[in-house]
Amino acid sequence: MRVAGWVRWLVLPALAGALLGATVDPSRLPPVAGERIDAVLLLDGQAYFGHLEDFGFSDTVTLRDVYYFQDARAATTNLPVALVQRGGEVHAPADGMQIRRDKILAIEHVNLSSAVAKAIAAQREIERLVR
């Protein structure tokens, strides 16, 4: 079977490029840059934090290992909000959280030295210690 030169040098690379573009999230390059936590801010004011999977071909984004803020004015932590890990709700959501793109106001990267990232890292250590 003989492949024409223009197929070899144009169509196949274009196909590979298209597949690569759909597969790789450019915001996550280089792939060994360390953990990336994103904040997804919704139009209704709610904010979710976690590992974001955002690919252009989908009308939703997926957030895994999700945390969110909860009102904590009644608690004695001297902060109006507390960080809560998603998964403990009555329906025990298990496999990430799909968020409709048209409900998102902004997506921001969370600095790993921020209070949110520190609290998430501490929670992981607590889970490891308790296990």
């Binding site: 196909l15 996550r28 060994v32 001297n78 507390a82 890292a121 501490a122 250590e125």
Partner: protein, 177 residues
């Protein structure tokens, strides 16, 4: 030659398609960029912030008891003192239980946990030093402990307040002829 080339291209395309699959991608990403985990010092700092939260919750409940005790009560002074004493004992029990939970969450067990609780508990009697300290965003596990203790502190203080402010039942007068 061209057959080999086509085979390589097919393998590359299949590989890319596999990479696009969610589970594969998630597994690779977790392996390449493992999630950050807090070190011992960060856990200790969070634990201290949680202890201060417990101290504030305990102090708030004791203040409520004290404020209630300062008004004119329908119960006798001896009854009021007994109710307050029992409430303070209950509050300390809640605080010790919360400290035990904190110890467990911080990886302390057995004697280490007992030593930690004994050493920390008395230090939390006076929360004035931490009353206005800037809050620390706690890990959800630590926050759950503080929040649960806060609810129990409030429950104990409210119950004692009810007992202090409710007149003791007097026997209803029996009908006379």
């Amino acid at each position: 030659m061209s057959r080999v080339w086509i085979a390589v291209a097919a393998v590359v395309l299949v590989g890319l398609a596999l990479l696009a699959a969610d589970p594969v991608r998630a597994a690779i990403e977790e392996r390449v960029n493992p999630p950050a985990v807090a070190d011992r010092a960060a856990i200790a700092s969070q634990q201290a912030a949680a202890e201060h939260g417990l101290a504030r919750g305990y102090g708030k409940a004791v203040d409520q008891l004290r404020a209630t005790g300062n008004v004119r009560l329908p119960v006798s002074a001896a009854q009021a003192a007994a109710i307050q004493q029992r409430a303070v004992t209950d509050l300390k029990t809640v605080r010790r239980a919360a400290l035990a939970d904190l110890a467990r969450a911080a990886g302390l067990t057995g004697d280490a946990a007992a030593t930690y609780i004994s050493a920390t508990d008395p230090r939390l009697d006076d929360a004035t030093a931490w009353a206005n300290e800037p809050g620390v965003l706690l890990a959800p596990g630590f926050f759950a402990i503080v929040s649960r203790a806060d609810a129990l502190f409030a429950q104990v203080a409210d119950q004692a307040t009810r007992e202090l402010t409710t007149a003791p039942a007097t026997p209803s007068p029996s009908p006379t002829r």
